[in-house]
Symmetry: C2
């Protein structure tokens, strides 16, 4: 179909949907550093992780060699309920910008969770069910992951316990209600339901909570309740594996129409969307089959790639999880309270961190008012109200398209539109009212935060 | 492609999208009664309506003879940004119900307005722009129509002034922010910006507002501001015309796969979705080409078809609009404050009213707790969190499927899933908390409301 007129939206047929996930680690010559057991300081084993995660997911987490892993039929069935996600040609945006660039975005927001998170949630719920577990525990910040997991658990009849960062619990009652509608129990974190929660509340009774703290509570709840395991929506290599369905679909759609992206842009918090989108393209680059420019976009207020250090760090505030080598701001880092745009985790996926460290990927940061400016522009031109997270990628895609306008280059720009902003209207209201502010941590603040790093050679 | 395996979702290609709307009035032997000029009591003319509505839309409103009307290329372009809407085979729901019925739904919620309303909003905005107007005014209740119109106006660079029923303005701040993000001005109604608003506020200072009142304000604002016209999201025949795109796409998708629906179900407030979905099928029935069972589903708390009278009535509280012959509860009817599920207009589209009166369509009413029960079940099984409005159709579709389970009939059931419930979480919370109640108006209440009907022979 090469050179055929490109439609506004490319939907693959169900037969064209991926039947295997792609594991980019298999094509990396230098692999990501192994997770370390925080007690022994040695690389984690299956036995270390199995009390926390489902068995099959531990195997996926530790699997650095198999490039393709079959997607179980039950998960493919679920995917067919909301996938394929469309690959959209942004004709209207191109016209509005007056750019010779061709802009495409992969839109993952057409499902009730409102984001790509469902791709991994259903996989993790499936393996938990297969293992005969009663339920799973997790944390959620903005609520996208918690919503996705509650949908997935409802589908398989699993109990779902969500620890929601307290400030989000209070500010996003609607997200909470969606989770409850899907039968999940939602607890504001820190809570009195766990030892670590009690300890944090004793020390900081007025805390708003944080993702790191909610992770600690969810892990404790999983390991102290019979028949439960912990699941996580980003950062982990297993999550990037599941999210590769984004990139695989995108690549299949582009190949079908003979389109080759020059630049591939994704927003980056823990890395689940970016990793999923770029993995198969990165595989081609690693195998020397093709070349692309990859750009990770993160908030200037939580700049792990652009201003963090590449070191072993704790994944959670309670320091119960394995240590991971990653670009990090230190597990003690807390984004400024004025930060509305998600992507607030202190570290970055080990896979993406290693790719970035090898110079295979670039990173940029964006300030939040400029991100919302791009979001509003996009909404008005392309019709879709984007999630603040996704809007980081929009911002840089527009920047790149405007550069093409200056240089006359007809680049093909691809970005990931991870989700919709329907539950982020407080942040949009602040932007509409002109009360939104930016915040960039000072070097001194980051230096203090780096001091929370553990002393590990890696 | 008949007898091929039916995919979970059928997406037409862009070439297969409708290029003309279908006007069901052309195939009706007995036409809907004409609108009457409230001053003269005579059928309205182009000249009567042109000060209120855009010229081209008046022509469409009065056009009872042309079965097909071309969709302008600019509107087709916009449609391609969010259409085709998928026709979904509810495999999971069928399995969960254990029914031999085959269930399909046309899903109109995959766009930022969250509903089918965008189909007519973009058409009305286009004709306003083409006429060289500065902007349009409208009312909105739950906010779906206002959101759709703000998106459409933003696309064409038109000013958009929305009068939002006061109680919704206060209870749905997020809807309001979406409209503001698209550049619309949103005024709680009744307001001090119009004469009719001032009058209503003087009489009822504590009123929560109503759709009828907001319509009066929007019409006044349109007719007293140079370069403005009024637009309406339901009830009118022009709206049904634009919404026929729903039914045309559905019919094309079904024909492509050799599927014939036996029962077609839609929720009904003013009738925009139901009319759009059934129009082309009704056309076949009217022309004797095929037969279908049509079921309109309305809230038991606002039962215009099932308990109203077929008579000329005012369309708005301020009595400035033309009179329309329709099934109505009387323009003084106010749904109980506990009613959360939308579909709260006192009357029904003249086209649908006439079809119903001729016995070509059935109607049922549903109580709201049973509607939310169906909504929750559907969300958990099919993954999509439905709008309360749409859930009226879900409720009856499930009822019909369960009847098939009893009788063993393998009926093909089609219903319209008009939108998503992301902005209706207060109502879902009430259902989740068990505090939602039902309300059915008594015969005495309806009798009092019928007394607000004008004395017109029709």
């Amino acid at each position: 179909m090469a050179n055929e007129k490109i439609p506004y939206k490319i939907y693959l047929s169900e037969e064209e949907l991926p039947k295997q996930w792609y594991n980019v680690r298999a094509d990396m010559k230098k692999k990501p550093a192994p997770m370390l057991n925080p007690g022994t300081g040695k690389p984690v084993t299956f036995e270390d992780l199995a009390p926390v995660f489902c068995d099959e997911l531990v195997k996926q987490e530790l699997n650095e060699t198999d490039p393709y892993i079959d997607i179980p039929e039950e998960i493919q069935s679920f995917y067919r309920m909301y996938r394929p996600a469309p690959l959209v040609r942004a004709y209207c945006l191109e016209k509005a910008l007056g750019t010779p660039a061709k802009i495409y975005y992969k839109f993952e927001g057409n499902n009730t969770s409102g984001s790509h998170k469902l791709n991994s949630a259903i996989a993790q719920a499936y393996y938990a069910k297969k293992q005969g577990l009663k339920g799973v525990t997790t944390e959620t910040g903005a609520g996208q992951w918690g919503t996705a997991l509650s949908m997935a658990c409802s589908y398989f009849g699993l109990d779902c316990r969500v620890y929601m960062v307290k400030v989000s619990y209070e500010q996003k009652p609607f997200r909470r209600e969606v989770m409850r509608t899907y039968g999940a129990s939602v607890t504001p974190s820190p809570s009195m339901t766990t030892e670590i929660g009690k300890k944090i509340l004793a020390e900081f009774p007025d805390t708003n909570g944080s993702l790191g703290c909610a992770i600690s509570e969810a892990v404790e709840a999983a390991t102290t309740n019979e028949g439960y395991r912990y699941v996580l929506g980003s950062v982990l290599s297993q999550v990037l594996l599941h999210q590769s369905v984004i990139g695989l679909e995108t690549m299949a759609a582009m190949d079908k129409y003979g389109i080759k992206p020059d630049v591939i842009i994704g927003c980056a918090g823990g890395g689940s969307n970016l990793g999923g989108l770029i993995s198969p393209f990165m595989g081609r680059k690693l195998r020397g089959e093709d070349d692309y420019q990859f750009i990770a976009v993160e908030p200037a207020s939580c700049p792990s790639l652009t201003r963090g250090v590449y070191a072993y760090d704790f994944c959670d505030t309670g320091k119960v999880c394995p240590l991971q080598k990653m670009y990090t701001l230190g597990s003690g880092f807390m984004p400024s309270p004025n930060h509305a745009g998600g992507l607030r985790y202190h570290g970055m996926s080990a896979v993406l961190s290693e790719l970035y460290d090898q110079g295979l990927m670039e990173a940029r940061s964006a300030e939040q008012t400029s991100v919302f400016e791009a979001a509003q522009k996009f909404a008005r031109i392309e019709g879709i109200l984007p999630a603040p997270e996704s809007s980081h990628a929009i911002k840089v895609a527009i920047d790149e398209a405007l550069k093409c306008k200056e240089t006359g280059e007809e680049k093909t720009i691809l970005f990931g539109l991870t989700g919709t902003g329907y539950f982020d209207m407080y942040a949009y209201a602040a932007y509409n009212d002109g009360t939104m502010t930016d915040y960039i941590p000072t070097d001194e603040e980051l230096q203090r935060s780096f001091e929370t790093l553990p002393k590990v050679e890696g």
